[in-house]
Amino acid sequence: MDSFSLGSALLQYTVSGLTIGVIYALVAIGYNIIYNVTEIINFAQGEFVMLGGLFAVFFAQSLHLPIFLAFVAAIGLTGLTGFAMERLVIRRARSSTVLSLIIITIAVSILLKGTAMFWWGKNPYSLPPFSSGRPFIVLGAAIQRQAVWIFAVSAIVVVCLTLFFRRSAYGKAMLASADNPSAARMVGIPVRQMVLLSFTLSAAIGAAAGVSITPISLMEYDRGALLGLKGFGAAVLGGLGQFFGALVAGIVLGLAESFCAGYLSSGYKDAVALVILLLALFFKPEGLFGSREAAKLKRF
């Protein structure tokens, strides 16, 4: 093997690592939105990603909608699922213990997964890429057009969210209810509505990730748990609640996974992100960008 192909392999792994990493970042942002408002970690977050992908398949293959309409419809429908989850389940569990809340979101994730299996069966589904054409060749590495789309989608999501939280009254109200729910309630912010919005929004973002990744890596009913777990890894590594941190950490995770698959063992590539998750939880639970003191204050 000459040095050129070694270099291009490296580049190839980097590109695929970045692609999947950005997806993890989107999943992580989904966790962050709900966590910021409710301090709940939603164990069903990964299922939103799976649902997004499969809904898009349904709209594009069964209803023959153009891919962009399918994309939007899938996001909308998954957002609706998040909405329903909050309305029907989380709202009833307001006074539950943390333990019950964990079990409840896990139960929802099982139900979503089971329903998906019921509708779509156990086979993986594919989706045409958002635009057709041959991959770009950069320095000997092939970059699929879908990868470019994935970067675009995540860039749009990150920009929109930043604008939403910084500029819009709704976004600011959401941050306020996260910071201090009772004070927010006193100044007239409808905290319940914010919680509802957070579930809807984070389901929609999960779905965006799911639709974008399906053309590259297919989608099936049981992909949610692992995607969710890795996304959570990115969320913790980036500092729970931090959007920028999630982006960086997602990419770190994606690269680690891709290099492991390329150079070490493809069988253990799923374990890499999980080992990083455990190390982060064990040794730096406040994340790379979170502050230890803030984490400590929360405990007392």
Partner: protein
């Protein structure tokens, strides 16, 4: 153990002892003995889950992993190295204890959601290892033709023999757990669940106890895993995945997490639900599990036993 517990203990023991004689003559239900062997094996795991989650208040989504560590250690040592099962079983339990100890020290500093995620991640890693180390574990297709079990020179060749052996073990473990609960250790565990910092200020080394009860639950799960290996004599990783960790929690929750009797009741009930009554749903049984889990967590968080016990009045000062 209180006098009431002793009464329930004797009654349950009698019922378990008589069970085969009640169902065996009836053709349609004679295989219930077989189901009950599984229930007994799972009950060992669930006793650990109850101690850990119900009493000490620590979530673990990794019990299937410890079940798997016990099962595979027994399978590999007896199947590949022809070791005596009675030596393999403590080896599996020790390995599970060691792993639980190493993982538990950092993990149990975490609380609530974080602890759940950490144990979940650990469980998935173990499952990946079981799938990937094909040379040792046989990978996704697993291992077959594993040896059965001899007890004091007698081969456990019938389901009835297994039934009594497994349930005997369950009752020993149950006694052990009851005694722990009604001691300073058990009180300390419950105190950790209710007010961790107050427990710590009263001199309870909370970190150490949390790790110890985690190790106890891992050992119980590993012993159950060894029994499982020798009972079914073939293994594959799908019996040790995340869904199984959730099923163990479900069993305990259905019966009532804060009672060892609840754990037993829930385990037996859910084993029958899983092995017998959900066949009509085939693979969609997962939907039923999700629904049961949701309903129990929302509407009956203390499980079925809470229907039989009076609720204490507690003021929140």
């Amino acid at each position: 153990m209180t006098r009431k517990d002793w009464r329930i203990f004797l009654l349950t023991a009698l019922l378990i002892a008589a069970f085969p004689w009640m169902v065996q003559p009836v053709k349609a239900v004679s295989h219930y003995v077989d189901v009950m062997v599984f229930a007994g094996i799972f009950a060992l795991v669930c006793l650990g889950v109850t101690m850990l989650m119900g009493y000490a208040g620590q979530v673990s989504m990794a019990q299937a992993a410890f079940f798997g560590i016990g099962a595979y250690t027994s399978a590999i040592l007896t199947g590949r190295f022809a070791l005596d099962p009675w030596l393999a079983m403590p080896a599996g339990a020790s390995l599970a204890a060691l792993v639980a100890w190493v993982v538990g020290i950092p993990a149990l500093r975490l609380k609530g959601h974080y602890l759940a995620m950490a144990t979940l991640g650990f469980g998935v890693i173990v499952h990946i290892i079981l799938n990937e180390e094909v040379e040792w574990t046989g990978g996704p297709s697993g291992m077959a033709d594993l040896p059965g079990l001899h007890v004091l020179g007698w081969k456990l060749s019938t389901e009835l023999a297994w039934y009594y052996f497994v349930w005997g073990t369950v009752f020993l473990a149950l006694l052990f757990c009851f005694h722990v609960l009604h001691s300073r250790v058990g009180r300390a565990l419950r105190a950790i669940h209710e007010e961790e910092s107050a427990a710590e200020a009263m001199g309870v080394p909370t970190a150490r106890y949390k790790v110890q009860v985690f190790v106890l639950s891992a050992v119980l799960a590993a012993v159950a895993g060894s029994l499982y290996t020798h009972f079914v004599t073939c293994l594959n990783p799908s019996s040790f995945n995340l869904m199984w960790s959730i099923r163990f929690i479900l069993m305990v929750m259905v019966g009532g997490m804060q009672s060892l009797w609840g754990a037993l009741l829930g385990t037996v009930l859910m084993t029958f639900v899983g092995n017998e009554w959900l066949h009509v749903f085939a693979e969609f049984e997962i939907l039923v599990y999700g629904a049961i889990l949701l309903v129990v967590a929302l509407f009956l968080p203390k499980g079925l036993v809470s229907l039989f016990t009076r609720k204490p009045i507690v003021h929140n000062a």
